[in-house]
Symmetry: D2
Subunit: 337 residues, 4 copies
Amino acid sequence: MIIVMQHQATAAQIAAVVARVEAVGYRASLIKGEERTVIGVIGDDRPIDREQFEALDGVEKTVPILKPFKLASREMHPADTLVSLDGIKVGGPRLVVIAGPCSVESRSQILETALAVKEAGATALRGGAFKPRTSPYSFQGLGEEGLQYLAEARDMTGLPIVTEAMSEEQVTLVARYADVIQIGARNMQNYDLLRAAGKADKPVLLKRGMMSTIEELLMSAEYILAGGNSRVMLCERGIRTFERYTRNTTDINAIPVIKQLTHLPVLLDPSHGTGKWEYVIPVARAAIAAGADGLLVEVHPNPVEALSDGAQSLKPEKFAQLVREVRRIAEAVNRTV
Amino acid sequence: MIIVMQHQATAAQIAAVVARVEAVGYRASLIKGEERTVIGVIGDDRPIDREQFEALDGVEKTVPILKPFKLASREMHPADTLVSLDGIKVGGPRLVVIAGPCSVESRSQILETALAVKEAGATALRGGAFKPRTSPYSFQGLGEEGLQYLAEARDMTGLPIVTEAMSEEQVTLVARYADVIQIGARNMQNYDLLRAAGKADKPVLLKRGMMSTIEELLMSAEYILAGGNSRVMLCERGIRTFERYTRNTTDINAIPVIKQLTHLPVLLDPSHGTGKWEYVIPVARAAIAAGADGLLVEVHPNPVEALSDGAQSLKPEKFAQLVREVRRIAEAVNRTV
Amino acid sequence: MIIVMQHQATAAQIAAVVARVEAVGYRASLIKGEERTVIGVIGDDRPIDREQFEALDGVEKTVPILKPFKLASREMHPADTLVSLDGIKVGGPRLVVIAGPCSVESRSQILETALAVKEAGATALRGGAFKPRTSPYSFQGLGEEGLQYLAEARDMTGLPIVTEAMSEEQVTLVARYADVIQIGARNMQNYDLLRAAGKADKPVLLKRGMMSTIEELLMSAEYILAGGNSRVMLCERGIRTFERYTRNTTDINAIPVIKQLTHLPVLLDPSHGTGKWEYVIPVARAAIAAGADGLLVEVHPNPVEALSDGAQSLKPEKFAQLVREVRRIAEAVNRTV
Amino acid sequence: MIIVMQHQATAAQIAAVVARVEAVGYRASLIKGEERTVIGVIGDDRPIDREQFEALDGVEKTVPILKPFKLASREMHPADTLVSLDGIKVGGPRLVVIAGPCSVESRSQILETALAVKEAGATALRGGAFKPRTSPYSFQGLGEEGLQYLAEARDMTGLPIVTEAMSEEQVTLVARYADVIQIGARNMQNYDLLRAAGKADKPVLLKRGMMSTIEELLMSAEYILAGGNSRVMLCERGIRTFERYTRNTTDINAIPVIKQLTHLPVLLDPSHGTGKWEYVIPVARAAIAAGADGLLVEVHPNPVEALSDGAQSLKPEKFAQLVREVRRIAEAVNRTV
């Protein structure tokens, strides 16, 4: 950490900051510039509370030097983490394509979709049994019944299952049925949930919050890793900006940034990233071109009847086209679908 | 709802949309403009899923006409809701000033602060026993022990207690000790938590998420109201923008907007809204000038030792100055502290 | 400036950075932390190009220590700058209230408005003769004819005139008729215009761009100050965020931040800040409570006929109410209107 | 346009709005819903001023139905516009790759870079002679001397020249030397400049403002098209968001959105889109995968010595790698470099 003193800070104020730095066990190294003094704090660790120092008289600001995440950091763990998912090693050369409806709506809907996405080339099935909905009057998911249908779809198709848990108890329940526990964007900073996921014995798919920085995403991954679960996959799904033609703004920069900062695999969800099915295929291609390790795509056999996210869901034939086009991009970056 | 057809939509596509509107029980009213057709949907209610219609061929977009919230809406409930808090009717002419530390750190810290803020003119005490922290390595709160100290502080000072619950179970626990259950910005869309708060028999202070719209805040209030708890207070606490000199951008516009859209009282938190103690007093004055029903302010007897939010905490003497200055503004808008 | 080296930076890379620092005439001071090395650059001045150093091998990032503005900085110029405007010293205890229509539409419209705002308590008249409009099909202003009507309105009422210039040549023209040259939000980073304003012998009202940080606003002020014109007034007018109930988000935090960073006066424009007339009065009160030195308000005798900004314009009687309410807030912060 | 009346609007208020609609020459079509009345305005054209109607009593809001741009719209002009640039038809199957330094710094620098990018596969040369700089103390460009060096570089390499004009007069000067007039992000809403570009007889490269919506970008294109210049190329270059690891957030969604809304070609600038050279290649690949018609890339022979944008500039050998990788992606989407 670096502490920048105010222009008019007194010698006594500087001495007090140094004393405080040493009192909490670090060493202080002063740089006296022409206009102001800067104090380097040596030996501090990530959990340091910079705000305490900002509250001292004469301090203008503090600047972190170390990244706040450790276990998630590529500096501490240079080799790529590969997460096994039914034969695919996510993060390796073969891409994972997780497809399915936003919500499990009925047994027939999920079985029909599972067969269709399997045939089109999906490597895992997604579908929500528990749904976070903005309105209390909207469909809230089938709950455990939905999980049972998902399990049946896996038995029928062999596709591993990815589904969301929204609370500590749901983690246990979801882990019983599913192959991957998804933590949704709205829950990215639900710390009790993250801790529960850290104790689960299933891989976790952690989606970036629509209002969260990449650093916050990695801090949330850190919670899961610190809890003992090292099988974490990240997912960029669009952030909230001022642009209104699309539901969110897909942060394509996030793909190379995340690959540089962490060893964990990263997927991209072009359905939420754009919010309109017409834009899903080009953005899926872009994700793979940018280096993403896979995709999370909403597919519904009949979007007009979908109980949620109809406007951003692909019909199965469009999804088949997506897989074909993405396969060509994958080859161009030396990967496979 | 209004459905806007594409420029090149065919008569058959328009007919299919009308048929769909009628099939789900509404009436359709067509406006044929020179460049495109618009379909008014009559009889639809708030839970309508606009996305299903957007998935129909030839539809360009849909536009909601009704606001998605009902119980929270001033249209449905024109009179101001007053929430009783130990003698103050929040939402009435007397302002509520809730002050205290970010976290309860020790018995002596909270008792000392309670006495100080009481003397300076606070009308309620805040302090977190359960803390959502970005880093798994940061102080996470004292838990139930913290709630006990808060209760002791209330016994000593007579100040009602406001404290945060982060999960369903914590709602029950917090409700046992506190006078107001706070739902924090990161949990504004934790729907299980909102449902639990809807069943609690204590007032709820619902903070706006840092990248949530005003409409989403009111939809979250709707969850609590729909659950049966009508004692909801809202709190603006700053939103995330591109500006970097402050931690958040206080959305002062939100005060008159919220007062117009809903009958619920609205407070403002200038500590999180700015993130730096130097700016807290002017923004507190602005909040009351804009029509807020009260303030939520972080006060710490020794910010340099604070385990969280030191940089934005006022010392007790600064808080006393805040109350004095806010009192003069309150008089200028015909209210009292 | 501080240069943060990468975790894995080699001794040779560190030496090369130090050599480069010294080659351009500064001194380097090393802090060797446990995980990485930080290099303090001493003697650098504001125009330093940090990007050159970021392009060196082994450098992770650079961190500025000095603020990039100098003449605009309160550190270099601690006393408040007062800008004389027809008897009012803007930045002093008496507030300035600049009111009038978005556009000068006709002789009668501007004369009628001038009389009305004068009677209601305005201390200057605003009105655009040159209008930046998003659409090429919208009214673009009366040009010099509008300036003549403004001058006539000044002769009739004694109110000084504030009007916008959008290019170098317009600066000369506007300076001939007006008392204050306004630089609009869309032109905040039109550097040729800023340089022209720096050579003008009239005060300048510089509006913050809707996409600009406070630091960028102060850098644009620096252009004008560096050109030799020290009579600069700043104006916060709302920034673009994700919130959609209002046209912009008034950054109320900007008022105390700007007062702390610079010696220049700062006004607030609640009309653009909110975009809806219903919210203008409460936000005007908030601005003064937060410490603004004045207001810029859109007033139109008949908003329904306004050729621009009708929805955010106050009728004269509402403006009179604004002045009455703001006067009470001004007294509460020891100022006058 | 649709006018939504307030819930409590009276019959007289509705009648007054209808009368106003008819008075300005349109027809009104009423839809009486259960909770509120909606008025469709028929026969209105794009330049309609919605704000006038929002200022009427009883009106809650207005909703545009037609897009505000006309000449830029694909609805009015379904076929792709191809802009000829020295043999390449930009917008057709062959991609354009425009590369070069941020600023022309010296004769040798631009000649050296021109040869290097030509050899690596660039199809046009970029370089700024007039530079918009945030700080008045930074290098502001060589002016006309820079244009002469660019012309010399063209003579030597055969590469057409793309360079920025920042004011009306510069348009004339730049058009004399360059093959394409660039309008930079900060000037996207400099309407005098757009009008001048509309009268120029050279193609225009219009960059999206960093906090401008796609709709605003198309409205600015509309200015140029309405002025008579139909050779407009658009360029996405990243928008300003809350994310801080990158300088801007590349809006990859904008590529398919723009291709759908307009017939004009669209390029992407991964250098400004990311702000760090490490991320430029993956984002360039993503741009082409998403359907962009070309790239604008900053290349500098020695980024450490660059007078601007060093951190985001590629060295020539890295640029050669970019072209190789982009070529493979281009083939995967049936295009060529």
